[in-house]
Symmetry: C2
Subunit: 476 residues, 2 copies
């Protein structure tokens, strides 16, 4: 990584200056044990980690602006970090330098009921937003599966998606305003509490999903939705993964209904999560299952919709359809779904978490193709995820009999084949986790060089010294 060499080391003078900006107790320097925690995100493999030289914990946009100005003057890289729950290495301080922790910026700035908007700082845990507004009959619909730990700032940086994206879309749909500290240390306001705005280029859209390379969000305004008053989950058991996944395009196009979620879990994913949680949900006879949510403002409507979808599942070969129409049962099932990643995570660190996305009609071909690749290379590729969006999660898990060297040689080959499979089906390499530096070298597989060049030019325009989160998405 050639670009990394050109940064200057963090000296004790710079540490002193940082202490002057944020206060001494919010600067962590020379404590390798503490700093180590910020050297990686949820990507398990060590080779994606890199130690920061110093960590700072600012509390205001002004402090962040001052840090960015200092960093530009002294040529020191800055990597912003939220909860560290990312899955592509986006928060890893690849060039060392400063890791900028947003956890102290966790204030709710305003709940504006009259406009159904909330403005928060980036370090607010996403789930807190929904806890705060539930009693007002509102909810924030863009949250991802990791909502209990992730920060909203990271959600915006990654354009996180979640279990309700089929009906409600992902983070970006709800971001109407941003206060941003630019890479050169200016504080700018984009948008506001506006649901329509065509004043100039869509810079909010560009910021969302820019993976911490174009700016640090210091205030985020989100549009809220009326909280659905009725909610039902269907757990639909199928004999095979092919049958389950084959039902998805039928439900999406044949019912005239937009379900809130269609999640797919194969047998091995369900079993792993159930064992991890010591939970029992009915899966013994099932090779795979769909977890389908329907919500709305009227119980009869929701009932009519889930009955129609349940019928479609049975027609598509479901062995059984269970209805979960109360919070406790729903939560049990969703917990199984949410913990699949976690469950696999503890088995071995020799695995790679992927989130390929394809057109919905190609999901069956994707799942079949993944099985073929698993067989070819003798690895496990359990499969689960947001089938209703065409966004399948999977883990490539090392064969436990292998020596690590074999794994390290095989994984890049398997990944390349998976990514090429997704591309051949009209898909791409990430639906919600991002490119970060984990998938950086694969970006040219799915994106033409002139397009990557345009992204480089945009990065250069915002960040002429390449100070903010260097080495992510593409090399400059």
């Amino acid at each position: 990584m050639a670009s990394i060499d050109r940064y200057n080391p963090v000296t004790s003078e710079i540490v002193a200056e940082l202490s002057g900006i944020v206060g001494e107790k919010y600067v962590i320097f020379g404590d390798a044990e503490k700093l180590q925690a910020w050297s990686h995100d949820e990507v398990a493999e060590e080779r994606y980690a890199h130690m920061p030289e110093v960590a700072v914990r600012p509390a205001t946009a002004d402090e962040i602006a001052a840090i960015m100005q200092l960093a530009n003057r002294e040529m020191i890289a800055v990597t912003p970090r939220g909860a560290g729950s990312g899955l592509s290495g986006g928060a890893v301080p690849l060039a060392g330098g400063i890791v900028l922790l947003t956890g102290r910026m966790n204030k709710v700035v305003e709940i504006d009921l009259a406009n159904m908007m909330i403005t928060v700082e980036p370090g607010v845990v996403t789930n807190e937003i929904n806890d705060l507004i539930r009693d007002d009959g509102l909810f924030y619909a863009g949250y991802p599966m990791s909502l209990e730990t992730c920060y909203i700032g990271g959600n915006v940086a990654e354009n996180a998606g979640g279990g309700k994206a089929v009906k409600y879309g992902v983070t970006g749909r709800y971001v109407t305003g941003l206060e941003v500290v630019t890479p050169t240390g200016e504080i700018v306001q984009l948008g506001g509490k506006l649901v329509k705005d065509v004043t100039g280029y869509n810079l909010i859209g560009l910021m969302v999903g820019s993976e911490g390379t174009l700016g640090i969000f210091t205030k985020i305004t989100l549009k809220l939705m009326p909280l659905p008053t009725a909610n039902v989950d269907l757990l639909c058991l199928f004999e095979s993964a092919e049958q389950a996944i084959g039902a998805v395009p039928k439900i999406m196009t044949g019912s005239g209904i937009i379900p809130t979620a269609i999640e797919f879990m194969d047998r091995s994913a369900v079993r792993a999560s159930c064992e991890y949680l010591n939970e029992t949900i009915p899966y013994e006879r099932a090779g795979a299952m769909l977890l389908i949510t329907v919500d709305g403002s009227g119980a009869e409507q929701v009932e009519r919709e889930y009955e129609a979808i349940g019928e479609m599942c049975l027609e598509a070969g479901a062995i059984e359809v269970y209805v979960a129409d109360n919070f406790t049962t729903s939560e049990r099932i969703w917990k199984v779904r949410r913990n699949i990643g976690e469950a696999y995570g503890i088995v071995t660190r020799y695995q790679s978490s992927e989130d390929l996305v394809v057109p919905i009609s190609e999901i069956p071909a994707l799942v079949t193709g993944m099985g073929r690749i698993a067989d070819k290379y003798g690895v496990q590729i359990p499969c689960y995820g947001h089938a209703g969006d065409g966004n399948m999660h999977t883990r490539v898990v090392m064969n436990p009999d292998w020596p690590v060297e074999k794994w390290e040689k095989t994984l890049p080959v398997v990944l390349k084949e998976l990514y090429e499979l997704a591309k051949s089906l009209g898909g791409t390499i990430s639906g919600e986790h991002g490119i970060g530096h984990k998938r950086k070298k694969y970006l040219p597989l799915v994106m033409a060089e002139p397009v990557i060049d345009v992204m480089r030019a945009i990065k250069k325009a915002w960040d002429p010294n390449n100070i903010l989160n260097p080495g992510k998405i593409f090399d400059v």
Copy 2:
């Protein structure tokens, strides 16, 4: 306009080369009468018009790429033009040069029912999309009010919004894939038939609403929605504009229902349109009215929702609430709404069509403020529009007793005051019409210089020679 001087004239050699690219009969040169039609869009005032030197009518992306390469080599400006139904001068060839007409590119490339997507060329009339897919139980929800004449390419360029934006959002929400000819003449693919995609920066989001300055769209993939099977319009009469507009935030936040549309029309707007159409809808006793649409997949649900909203209107002081639950009646009312602009358009060309947008809670203050400005300067400012989005349309109409000179001196003062009013309420100067060159000089009122600089840098990255639609949004 300093930048305009540096382009070269279109010589007969260049005309010959253009003929070689698109065919002789698709090049219009030296025919001032024909060219005049492409010197303006729907902005009435002559000073916003500018003649092109030549018009070309390409049929393929390859032809457009060749034109852009030629234009870069010879330093000739190119202005793309769809149906010419824009309202900010976006399609006006300010620097002369080539006006590039997309009307021949009007093919439907693919209707993909399995993915609920349609791919079209830019010259397809927006309404045709819905005509084509209605029988399949689908619809394209992003269309604007001018759907019967506008082209989908222009909708994407302007990020057009429409009467259903409250529930369904605007054009950008539905664009999942683009084939783009870049300003330097490369053909690039962005996105695809994917509902989630975080591979690199959100360049589709940047292209949408870029007003023809960053690329020419040659294929557009749109996500479709299940066609609602039930649809009801409410026409709610209020004694005053203040009462009507005051009901809007209450409906939006108090009902737990997301209506499809909430349109506002004041008395003078309704009267003008009814007279223009020779139509009668009940408005005699009303100072203003709300046109509210509710749609869904179940008749009972829609009934419950419109009854709840109707009740809220009555509680907020409505004199009368009419229900239009059949297509003919609905269409009559919507036609009155859609033709307000047209109706005023024929009265005088001394008027300015505006589309201020504010947070929903500020609409009453905006309407009151507009009345104050109208009184202060002695102009008419009739008011109508997408109240449910906070996006109010209005026309500043010349006092017929004035000499034109007085109008021309007064209008910029009135506009500046209107824009400052919107800004003071947390709003901005355009919700859906765009900046174009009509509002260019007012952009700094609502956008900080560093932000405009970033947009300039993005433009420079895509279009180093400033060939594509120069002089729009900002000067480079």
